[in-house]
């Protein structure tokens, strides 16, 4: 456990020094803050556009930060040969991999929390500016928005585990490209099920349904639209999706470990 925490801590410090990620975070903060200035529409429309934009930015920048952080972790260590030094100490490959994963999550969480806090501040100011009476609405909306952001975090954990799994065998550029593509494909999973329904061929149907099961279904984590439009998300749903995310992350880390255990470093 101590080894894992040490590696996680080192990874976090390493990520903090990455200028690209700081620029991404800065861009996200400016973009979220600028949503305050949507003032040409009716109040309800302004609030909707503001929330859609801010949640979209958090998810998109969160995705970029995730793939850039996790995609480069192992290839950099292997390229610099630092992995050989670390593994020559009493540190197992599983500990190393899991430590790297925890460090990446630590930095992803920090970034998402910073963006979320800015978003909540801006949203609160907007509600106050429109009418202090809307405070009640804000209080009702805030827990649902927190749930949506928690699911975004969970989605990014799954994405991080996939990218880390691939990074045990591939180069940094490949990992980043793969991470972005899997994020897009993961949001199209429901289309695959939709297509499978429309195929008469049993072979195609089975193929598509297998693909639907194997690929991560990131739409499970997407409740933003419903929340922004006043919908409620139950804790049971949250638990199911978190369990799904947990299972998927376990599978990806296990496969990643199996690859990494076989790899010559």
């Amino acid at each position: 456990m101590k080894n894992i925490l040490l590696i996680a801590n080192m990874t976090f410090k390493e990520v903090l020094r990455n200028k690209l990620l700081n620029v991404l975070l800065l861009f996200a903060i400016v973009a979220i803050a600028s949503t305050r200035f949507f003032t040409i529409f009716a109040p309800s429309e302004e609030l909707k556009i503001m929330q859609d934009t801010a949640l979209g930015i958090i998810r998109f920048i969160g995705m970029l930060i995730t793939v850039f952080v996790t995609g480069g972790l192992l290839p950099k260590e292997i390229y610099r040969r630092t992995v050989t030094v670390i593994l020559s100490k009493p540190v197992s490959r599983a500990q190393f991999l899991f430590g790297k994963f925890c460090g990446a999550l630590y930095s992803i969480f920090t970034n998402i929390i910073i963006m979320s806090v800015i978003f909540f501040m801006i949203l609160f100011i907007k509600f106050q500016a429109l009418s202090p009476e809307l405070n009640v609405k804000f209080q009702a909306l805030a827990p649902e928005l927190i749930k949506a952001l928690l699911l975004t975090q969970a989605e990014l954990i799954v994405l991080a585990s996939i990218t880390l799994c691939v990074s045990t065998i591939a180069s940094e550029i490949f990992n980043i490209t793969f991470g972005i593509l899997i994020f897009l494909i993961g949001h199209l999973s429901n289309y695959i099920a939709y297509l499978a329904d429309r195929f008469d061929s049993l072979l195609m149907k089975s193929l598509l349904l297998s693909l639907y099961t194997i690929l991560p279904n990131f739409e499970n984590f997407n409740v933003q639209n419903s929340v922004v439009l006043g919908g409620k998300v139950s804790w049971l749903y949250m638990a199911k999706v978190m369990a799904y995310g947990g299972f998927y992350t376990f599978v990806m880390l296990a496969i990643g470990y199996l690859f990494f255990a076989e790899r010559e470093v």
Binding site: G56, F60, Y194, G231, K240, F250
Partner: protein
């Protein structure tokens, strides 16, 4: 050697666990799909080849795509492109069926703006019908808020003078959190229909509501008095009973 065997066993165990978890995920996904249906989190499939919104939709940014279309709709509105904005509104409601404003504006645009813009009477009737159909479609996905019930009732009340239908929809609107004027509109609809006894009962019911709202109380008192006077004139006040709780 022992280590190597242990490592191999651990690997086999891990492979088994991966397969088991993957198999377990299929029923979990089914359960999530079911929850998405029951909690109204399901979204319509959007396939618009060549459209810029697809890029957003496939990235999971459906809300942003709908907002961009909404801005496009706003632009069409201000440029007087009234027929162009209809398919855009359709796309918005398809992507976000719980976006109430889109349904409201679409229904109102058809039943009022395009109605006024139409060259002849059959076209006008068609636009009202289209507006009603549009709102009913929205109502099918948004039954638990007052807005679309009220909007439908208003078209029946104001455009078609079908007061029975108007009352039915206004009354449905009052089942959910709603503004005070909808309760009064029910009484007005009875008055327009010529059913003074029911109008009087409705004003009596309104009298029991929103007692802290001076504006509401003032209007209700005025109309209650008028309805009472009419009933006295007709000699039917005695037969009118206080309304039961609805």
């Amino acid at each position: 050697m022992e280590n190597s065997v242990a490592l191999r066993i651990r690997k086999y165990f891990l492979v088994g666990a991966v397969i088991f978890v993957f198999i377990a995920m299929a029923p979990l996904q089914q359960s999530i799909n079911y929850s998405r249906v029951t909690e109204d989190l399901v979204e319509n499939i959007v396939i618009m080849p060549g459209e810029f919104v697809t890029n957003f939709v496939i990235g999971g940014f459906r809300g942003l795509a709908a907002d961009i279309l909404w801005l496009k709709m706003d632009e069409c509105w201000h440029n007087g492109k009234w027929f162009e904005l209809l398919p855009i509104l359709r796309a918005v409601t398809w992507m976000q069926p719980h976006f109430i404003e889109a349904w409201e504006i679409g229904g109102w645009h058809l039943a009022y703006n395009l109605y006024a813009y139409a060259a002849n009477s059959p076209d006008r009737e068609r636009y009202i019908e289209d507006g009603i159909r549009f709102l009913k479609e929205g109502l099918a996905r948004n039954r638990n808020v007052y807005n679309l019930w009220f909007n439908l009732g208003w078209i029946y009340y104001h455009k078609l003078a079908d007061y029975d239908e108007a009352i039915r929809y206004f009354r449905s609107a009052t089942r959910y959190e709603h503004p005070d004027y909808i309760d009064r509109l029910i009484a007005h609809a009875y008055r327009k229909k010529g059913d003074i006894a029911s109008e009087y009962k409705e004003w009596l019911r309104c009298e029991t509501l929103y007692k802290d709202n001076r504006h509401h109380v003032g209007i209700v008192e005025k109309h209650l008095q008028k309805a009472r006077d009419k009933l006295i004139q007709n000699g039917t006040l005695e037969g009118v009973e206080a309304p039961s709780d609805r």
